[in-house]
């Protein structure tokens, strides 16, 4: 399926109006919080009155699944809490994720929320575009920061789960794939150095694991 803009826009006319001719694509949704953030109460007590236990469980799973798909499959970067930037090259994949999300929400009877899942193009001014890019690079740096913290802890403890390590490696891959888009940003060099730190830490952790294995084999 070829993804097309709903209307054809004149690039030169847009530029004449001071607008950026490239569209920024957003993946937006509104999934309600089934479990409230209340300290001192157990999970069952924190479930919102609006939902049944089944619905709440499904919603939690769905949120985790979506976050995984957005971060690691679509290489999306967060704009707002429920709004993510996606690359134009990944639109087809994004549409399939949106489709699945809609059907899952409908399956548990949340039709109104299913209607709120959408992929939209945004046209903005040069300044607006720059501020979107700021959000993008900040998200990437934070994303790398989280992975760095995890690997650092893994090195300190001498252990981290396979899935956590996989996610950290994948973070590196995502950052590597997106970084070129941000080449003109003032924090680009910081991003490149942060990627190098994460890569180095992952290598250190893997070397540590290999050493541990070697020792175990000797014993």
């Amino acid at each position: 399926m070829e993804f097309k803009l709903p209307i054809k826009l004149d690039k030169e006319a847009l530029e004449a109006m001071g607008l950026k001719s490239e569209a920024i694509w957003l993946f937006e949704y509104d999934i309600p919080s089934a479990i409230k953030n209340q300290h001192g109460k157990n999970v069952k007590e924190r479930i919102s009155q609006k939902f049944s236990l089944e619905q709440a469980k499904k919603l939690v799973k769905l949120k985790n699944w979506l976050s995984f798909q957005l971060k690691f499959k679509l290489h999306a970067t967060r704009n707002l809490y429920s709004s993510w930037f996606i690359s134009q090259n990944n639109l087809e994949l994004a549409e399939s994720v949106a489709k699945k999300l809609r059907s899952e929400l409908e399956a548990i009877g949340l039709h109104e929320y299913a209607n709120k899942v959408r992929i939209i193009p945004i046209f903005t001014t040069e300044e607006g575009y720059e501020s979107f890019m700021d959000r993008k690079i900040e998200f990437l740096l934070e994303f790398i920061g989280e992975a760095t913290e995890k690997v650092e802890k893994g090195i300190k403890d001498g252990f981290m789960s396979e899935s956590a390590l996989w996610r950290c490696k994948k973070t590196l891959e995502v950052a590597e794939a997106i970084k070129e888009e941000l080449k003109d940003h003032e924090r680009y060099n910081e991003l490149v150095d942060s990627i190098a730190i994460l890569d180095d830490l992952i290598n250190q952790y893997e070397a540590l694991k290999a050493e541990q294995k070697e020792k175990e084999a000797k014993n």
């Binding site: 900040e138 891959e173 060099n189 910081e190 990627i195 190098a196 180095d200 290598n203």
Partner: protein
């Protein structure tokens, strides 16, 4: 002729430029400044030795390392703190206790920068920075034992104690200072509260080192400020920083005594020994055979002169290969905005005209440029520098491949390593070609063995981080008489199975190459070429490259 000091400053300036990646960053020396600092408005680092412990000059290596550590710290601020400079200046202005807010901002930013430098340059500048802080910590703790008179609750306010703990534990990791400082506060319920607050502030500071999000950093700033404010008793922090080392902008004078001096010497000696071990003993002329470790040693020191000579020598081959490879690429046109020449950008004409009444307006043109689309593939290149291959040919081959890749591919599309008894990374996928190319002139791997396994595994790891959508190509230039041959072949099989295409370049005595090719052929796309001289490289390489990748 340049004086010794000018030469040293030039070296320090280079370090600053490498870290900050800002060509306009300046460096100057000050005899009077109390501590080193960076001025974002003039984009200049001011360096001084006034903040180093007294007596540092008696230990020239330590003194030199410390200056390098200081400059790397300040350049780190240019890279990490500068983007937030306006935000935090505004944040400080909005606060009631501006001095306190400024102190907190300094501590958090120092923590972030130190962590960054220590990790990013962990084998060199990071080590030096750590040593400097470690020595300052030791001297601080010694002073704590001796100078009981000024470390007295009657002379220190709670705010001074709070900030000193935050600095000395948070930046210098001095547990001893924290304990002693807490013991200054009389036992009461307030002391418990103080303890809890300091722990919370320290854990926030610890969290800050991983944080890059402006909003999250502001939250941390605010939380620490609110905690600290409680202990200021409605008075802004103006009492001075009696127990904070000069290195962090404090007033604490510390002096190196013989005991710490001995420690400094042994630490530096240890550092040098580690360096020698990793570089491999017995470089040419030093006598004795080095141990074949296969370990990675630090990247070579760039030698521009030697490299430009190599490029000049191999210029015909480089141009020939580039011409041939560019035929496989599509020419594209690209519009560049805000250029100095070209045709006017119509939408900004009115604005540009108004501005031109006040000053000269440049960069208002749009330019269409034609260029070749860069090849979308990632190359990993391994070149043999062991004793069994002709070294001059190895230098020629690596120069040709480096120059060609640098001009033909994007910066992030190729990585270069050399191997012998140990190995060196000349360029990783993350580094830029222009920053790394001259390292070839300074290659210093030991030539007493041919340990391909470790660099091969390292390259495999680098390839794993590249998305499989990109074509990945491994090039090995060697005589293929290597140690642990079977293990190397196993790794190569795995690489071929992972859809990495392999090109083997044989030079020197290449009798073993046939065996490698036959063993590996069933596992994926592989090609080989043998050259007697680097002059044959362009023709042969293009032919094999087309065969392996299917490019016309």
């Amino acid at each position: 002729m340049k004086t010794e000091i000018a030469k040293k400053l030039e070296k320090l300036h280079k370090i600053a430029l490498i870290i900050a990646k800002d060509k306009k960053l300046g460096l100057k020396w000050s005899r009077s400044a109390p501590t080193a600092f960076i001025n974002y408005l003039t984009n200049t680092i001011t360096l001084t030795d006034n903040c180093l412990p007294k007596g540092s000059q008696k230990y020239p290596r330590f003194y030199e390392w410390s200056l390098e550590a200081l400059v790397s710290h300040e350049a780190g601020h240019r890279l990490l703190s500068y983007p937030f400079f306006k935000t935090f200046s505004r944040w400080i202005d909005q606060k009631r206790f501006k001095n306190l807010a400024k102190e907190i901002n300094n501590i958090i930013e120092d923590k972030r920068v130190n962590y960054f430098i220590e990790k990013r340059y962990r084998l060199d500048l990071g080590k030096k920075l750590r040593l400097l802080y470690e020595i300052d910590r030791k001297l601080l703790e010694k002073k704590l034992e001796k100078d009981k008179e000024s470390f007295n609750p009657k002379k220190l306010t709670t705010m001074q104690i709070f900030l000193a703990i935050l600095t000395n534990k948070g930046l210098y990791n001095s547990e001893k200072f924290k304990e002693k400082a807490l013991s200054l506060i009389p036992e009461s319920s307030l002391k418990e509260k103080f303890k809890q607050d300091i722990e919370k502030a320290l854990s926030l500071l610890e969290k800050a080192k991983f944080t890059r999000l402006k909003s999250e950093l502001l939250r941390i700033h605010n939380e620490i400020y609110e905690i600290a404010k409680k202990w200021s008793w409605n008075c802004d922090f103006i009492e001075g920083k009696a127990w904070i080392p000069k290195l962090s902008g404090g007033e604490l004078e510390i002096e190196i005594d013989d005991e710490v001096g001995y420690e400094i010497e042994s630490q530096i000696e240890k550092g040098d020994q580690n360096q020698e071990e990793t570089e491999g003993k017995g470089k040419s002329g030093s006598g004795g055979f080095g141990k074949s470790t296969g370990e990675e040693i630090p990247a070579p020191t760039p030698d521009f002169e030697a490299y430009s000579w190599l490029v000049q020598k191999n210029q015909p081959e480089i141009q020939k290969l580039l011409r041939k490879l560019k035929k496989t690429l599509k020419p594209i046109t690209e519009k560049k905005l805000f250029e100095k020449q070209g045709r006017l950008i119509k939408p900004i004409l009115a604005k540009a005209y108004v501005k031109s009444l006040r000053r000269r307006v440049k960069r208002v043109y749009i330019k269409t440029i034609e260029k070749f689309e860069k090849e979308k593939a990632s190359f990993g290149i391994l070149v043999d520098f062991s004793g069994s291959v002709p070294k001059n040919q190895a230098f020629d081959i690596i120069t040709i491949l480096n120059e060609v890749c640098g001009n033909w591919l994007e910066d992030s599309s190729f990585s270069l390593m050399v191997f012998g008894a140990n190995y060196q990374k000349i360029k990783t996928f993350f580094e830029s070609f222009h920053n790394t190319k001259a390292r070839i002139g300074g290659i210093s791997v030991s030539s007493y063995a041919t340990e391909l396994l470790q660099p091969l595994e390292a390259m495999f790891r680098l390839f794993n981080n590249i998305t499989a959508e990109r074509r990945r190509i491994l090039i090995i230039a060697s005589d293929f008489y290597v140690d642990k041959q079977n293990k190397c072949l196993e790794v190569l099989k795995s690489m071929l199975k992972a859809k990495i295409e392999v090109i083997l370049i044989g030079f020197g005595a290449t009798g073993n190459l046939k065996y490698w090719l036959e063993t590996l052929k069933p596992y994926g796309k592989i090609g080989e070429l043998r050259i007697r001289s680097p002059k044959e490289l362009p023709e042969a390489f293009v032919e094999v490259y087309s065969q392996v990748t299917g490019a016309k």
